[in-house]
Assembly symmetry: C2
Homo-oligomer: 349 residues x 2
């Protein structure tokens, strides 16, 4: 039962961090599940499932988070007309210590598992790696996913939500949600054409309630590397979307990228800005692995299929926040990875 | 500055989980740094550096752990005659929440970073992925690494070591150490010829002081998949080494693999067994990401270069232990990934 894949390959390494995939894999299925607050937001009617409460019938929030993650993967598989047996790798992570949401989901799915940790950059990290493994001939189908949960993340990183600690205006609201995509070597869907792998950048931000500022330098570094190495301009994209810088990080990133000579003021938004309405009192906006996972898996892919956006640059941004490191006086490093999703093939454009 | 790699590729997917690499990358440099207790063990004089104490001149154990990790990567680079600028990806992880050792090391190294979490399977997980990315044409040189520290891990997963809690005989001793390898598309060294990616397996063990039993089913599952899919026998390997099942998990794995028809009783050992002498009172033996990282990076690669072992099957085994999940009544799932390191090319055999 030896299956041999012979591919005439021409991976183009466009620079130190950016790769143009020779045989761009396509996103053939995706699903997003969110909590009630996210369901009340501007994208509420786009998600596949809005839970009535944050426990989802489970005894703990942690169990609810992994239920969302597992259900999102299964929904994405269903949409792709595939089963777990068709999937070569499950690549996922989450915000919880030891990525327990991903680990337990992998146990239940029974798919060979590659565990990742990239904080809120995880969805794009898994999409980058999964696409590279398909392009490299190692997989036909890969499931990539990420999740987060407001109550599990807050009690681990800051304070238990039951304590009712006041949140400063710079704080972001961890999204309760799980997003999953099935990426495939063949099929129809937006293609992943480029991957930019980021470095860990740290300009010294120490405030766990200001992650946007902590992540902005990493986001800008990866975005500028992407433009330089691809020789593309912001205007080459219909949309540039980060996840999840929220409002403060978003403005900072525009400024930092502008200093390098690229104007993103016209077509740059952020998953953390899109998911909540200012009236929802989330302060700077959404955050958490689940935020970019659900917005990319539902809204962005949907708009690409509908023809609104043809070429999208998505940047996953992670604040590598650790309560232990913070207590020991360390700052919060950031990391960002980027992918280009291209729907030109869908319309023959 | 477009660098195009055209490769006639023939990745052989030998089965659901195992890949035979078309252009096996080679391990061109490796280094291992350990703490004082590991230095007093049977392999003490083989490691590149034995620290005089577990703080290594730092103020906290966590800072000491990441100093070891960074120093190990830099030593491995030096041995490979490469600098950080030559490295395409740094792929690493550790046992600490949010993999802070790897994150802060990545920040200091400035190499594009892919963060991984696989508990004690991390070193082999990174070796698998790094080798696949090189074989797939995405990288020329990759640095893979993992670390652990007795005092940082114990206070996070069990009890602060200062408390002096008695350890049951089934407990393993988290190794203080960091190991790093530089894997390259060209050069001289043992080659990585096969990769087997494991599933998350959970037979219901709940005791954080019996991780060997928790990991054995996952180890056996991956080992049996490897033998079946490669149609190799245990005797095709000069050595089969897991990291880190220690004595209890080691015996259990031999039994489980025997049930599937493969006899590993003659040439199967474990990094956690090799690193400590029974007189060192570590009970079942060593554990922690750093254990397999330092034993593989120093002793095993050294023995391969010396011609003692030509073909080695290494299995990284991780207990996906989470204090939060344990408190919520969950068991400890395990995961295991395997690589074949082949030194036949070194001797022309």
């Amino acid at each position: 039962m030896v299956e041999t894949t012979v591919v005439n390959r021409a991976v183009k390494k466009l620079g130190k961090q950016t790769f143009q995939l020779a045989n761009p894999p396509v996103i053939v299925g995706a699903a997003a599940i969110v909590g009630p607050k996210e369901g009340q937001g501007p994208l509420g009617n786009i998600f596949d499932l809005v839970l009535p409460d944050t426990l989802a019938g489970e005894k703990t929030w942690e169990k609810a988070e992994r239920k969302m993650l597992k259900d999102a993967v299964n929904m994405a598989l269903q949409k792709a007309n595939l089963t777990t047996k068709d999937i070569d790798f499950f690549m996922a992570g989450d915000l919880l210590n030891q990525i327990i949401s991903a680990n337990f989901t992998a146990r239940d799915l029974g798919i060979p598992f590659i565990g990742l940790y990239g904080a809120c950059s995880t969805m794009v990290e898994s999409l980058c790696l999964g696409s590279m493994l398909i392009d490299g001939g190692f997989a036909n189908n890969v499931a990539v996913a990420a999740s987060s949960h407001y109550d599990t993340a807050e009690r681990q990183y800051r304070f238990p939500t039951e304590l009712g600690v006041q949140r400063p205006p710079s704080a972001q609201w961890t999204v309760t949600g799980a997003g999953a995509m099935v990426v495939s070597g063949t099929g129809i869907g937006p293609a992943v054409t480029h991957v930019t792998i980021g470095k860990v950048i740290d300009l010294g931000i120490k405030d766990a309630n200001d992650m946007g500022s902590a992540m902005a330098p990493a986001a800008a570094d990866t975005i500028v590397a992407h433009f330089k190495e691809t020789t593309r301009q912001p205007s080459d994209y219909d949309l540039i979307i980060s996840g999840d810088l929220a409002s403060i990080g978003h403005s900072l990133t525009i400024q930092l990228v502008k200093q390098a000579g690229y104007d993103m003021s016209k077509n740059f938004t952020d998953c953390g800005i899109l998911i909540f309405d200012p009236s929802q009192d989330t302060h700077a906006g959404g955050s958490g692995c689940g935020c970019s996972a659900v917005v990319l898996s539902s809204y962005i892919l949907g708009q690409m299929k509908a023809g609104k956006y043809k070429r999208v640059l998505a940047i996953g941004t992670g604040a590598l926040l650790s309560p232990t490191a913070t207590l020991q006086g360390e700052s919060i490093p950031g990391v960002a990875h980027a992918v280009v999703m291209d729907a030109y093939s869908l319309s023959g454009g």
